[in-house]
């Protein structure tokens, strides 16, 4: 975390994780009600992992913005690695949620009472696209030496 380019990536990744968590919470829980606030079939592990990830994404959002403010006051902000980090963070969080949490651990699903296959594919392909796009930006910023 010492060098400025690395801090740009860290700030981006943290905000990506935070934004992905926030979008999940506001759009899918609160606006669409696709997820339930609490699902009686939710195993204890789901409750715990949800709680931990919510806390992490909440903290990450605020920390990322202060890290960004720190980069700006040091005139060390670089847009390319920052956006690369953001896309990798958001995509990584979403892919983790869509594969491990939904499918491997079967903690909860995107929607209930419908065929979830198209939702799962959309969710995970979007995640993969974000990761690839972010990786391209990161590689490009490294090519230009920060």
């Amino acid at each position: 975390m010492s060098s400025a380019p690395a801090r740009n990536v860290v700030s981006g990744v943290l905000l990506g994780v935070g934004v992905a968590g926030f979008v999940d919470e506001t759009v899918f829980h609160q606006l669409l009600h696709w997820h339930h606030f609490y699902d009686k079939s939710t195993p204890a592990a789901g409750l715990v992992s949800d709680g931990v990830f919510h806390a992490v994404s909440w903290f990450a959002t605020v920390a990322a913005l202060f890290l960004l403010a720190d980069l700006r006051r040091r005139a060390a902000f670089r847009a390319t690695p920052w956006w690369g980090g953001l896309l990798v963070g958001a995509g990584g969080f979403q892919l983790y949620d869509g594969t491990l949490q939904h499918k491997v651990m079967r903690l909860h699903q995107i929607r209930y009472d419908v065929d979830v296959t198209p939702y799962d594919w959309t969710w995970n392909i979007l995640a993969a696209v974000m990761i690839v796009a972010g990786a391209v930006l990161l590689a490009r910023s490294r090519g230009r030496a920060g």
């Binding site: 606030f37 609490y38 409750l47 992490v56 909440w58 903290f59 920390a63 202060f66």
Partner: protein, 273 residues
């Protein structure tokens, strides 16, 4: 009644401290006076009637009290730096005794973020997952004890995270950040758990309203707490540390002055932020 007297005492004590510091030629930030007053107002809103009367009957009302008394009020009270004020305002001998107590082992253990987080989150888990919550409705002394615990544990935890009072052995920020995240997770998990597992005697609809309030209301106060925590980190790591925030137009006066013989103790407890 009891809480009203306690709140009045807290207000009078702080005011007396500020007056004493000023009389000695020192200076006390008005911002902190505002924090203290606002914290007491929130605590009063949570414990005095009619809010408290309402809280006896439903979990959602009780949760409003919990958010105010256990989370929002402590944040404001901690930022008002009451211990620093006491150290500056108390007579020399008492200030020394207080400084000695603050440096002692038991206080160090009690104010460690891990202890404070356990007392805070553990108390809530006990309250809502045992028969303590229903029992509270029948016993005034028990309700008072629970309120005292909620505000004390909330204060202790907040002070461990973002305290501006002297604490020479406060753990490093990364450690505190991890404990803060763990506490936020415990709070959120408990809120969701309550949604499906109401305390004895609480109807399902009431439990659900209370649980959602605890979860989303908690998020709001936590956001403020995280922002204060990160802001302090941001301020502490600036490329050019700023001097004391005293406007240039104001005559520069020492932040505080005490009789000379307290100097050694005062310096042994540096301000940390």
């Amino acid at each position: 009644m009891v809480s009203g007297l306690a709140l009045l005492a807290a207000a009078a004590g702080y005011a007396a401290g500020v007056v004493t510091v000023h009389r000695r030629g020192g200076w006390w930030p008005g911002r902190r006076v505002v924090y203290w007053a606002a914290g007491l107002v929130l605590a009063a809103a949570a414990t005095l009637r009619p809010a408290a009367g309402h809280a006896h009957h439903d979990l959602a009302g009780h949760m409003t009290g919990h958010l105010l008394l256990g989370m929002a009020a402590p944040l404001l009270l901690v930022l008002a730096a009451p211990v620093t004020l006491a150290l500056r305002a108390l007579p020399v001998r008492r200030a020394r005794t207080l400084a000695r107590v603050l440096r002692s082992g038991p206080v160090h253990v009690l104010t460690h973020p891990l202890t404070a987080a356990t007392l805070n989150a553990g108390g809530l888990w006990l309250l809502y997952t045992t028969d303590l919550y229903p029992a509270m409705a029948g016993h005034d002394w028990l309700r008072t004890a629970v309120h005292v615990h909620i505000v004390a544990a909330g204060y202790l935890f907040t002070a461990a995270m973002v305290g501006v009072d002297p604490d020479p052995r406060r753990p490093a920020r990364p450690v505190r950040a991890i404990i803060l995240i763990a506490f936020l997770a415990a709070h959120g998990i408990l809120a969701k758990f309550l949604y499906g597992h109401p305390p004895a005697g609480v109807p399902a609809a009431d439990a659900q309203a209370g649980a959602e309030l605890m979860y989303y209301g908690g998020d709001l106060v936590d956001l403020a707490l995280i922002a204060v925590f990160c802001r302090q980190w941001y301020d502490a790591t600036g490329p050019a540390r700023r001097g004391p925030r005293v406007p240039a137009s104001r005559p520069v006066r020492p932040l505080w002055r005490l009789p000379k013989d307290i100097g050694a103790d005062g310096e042994a407890l540096p301000r940390s932020g």
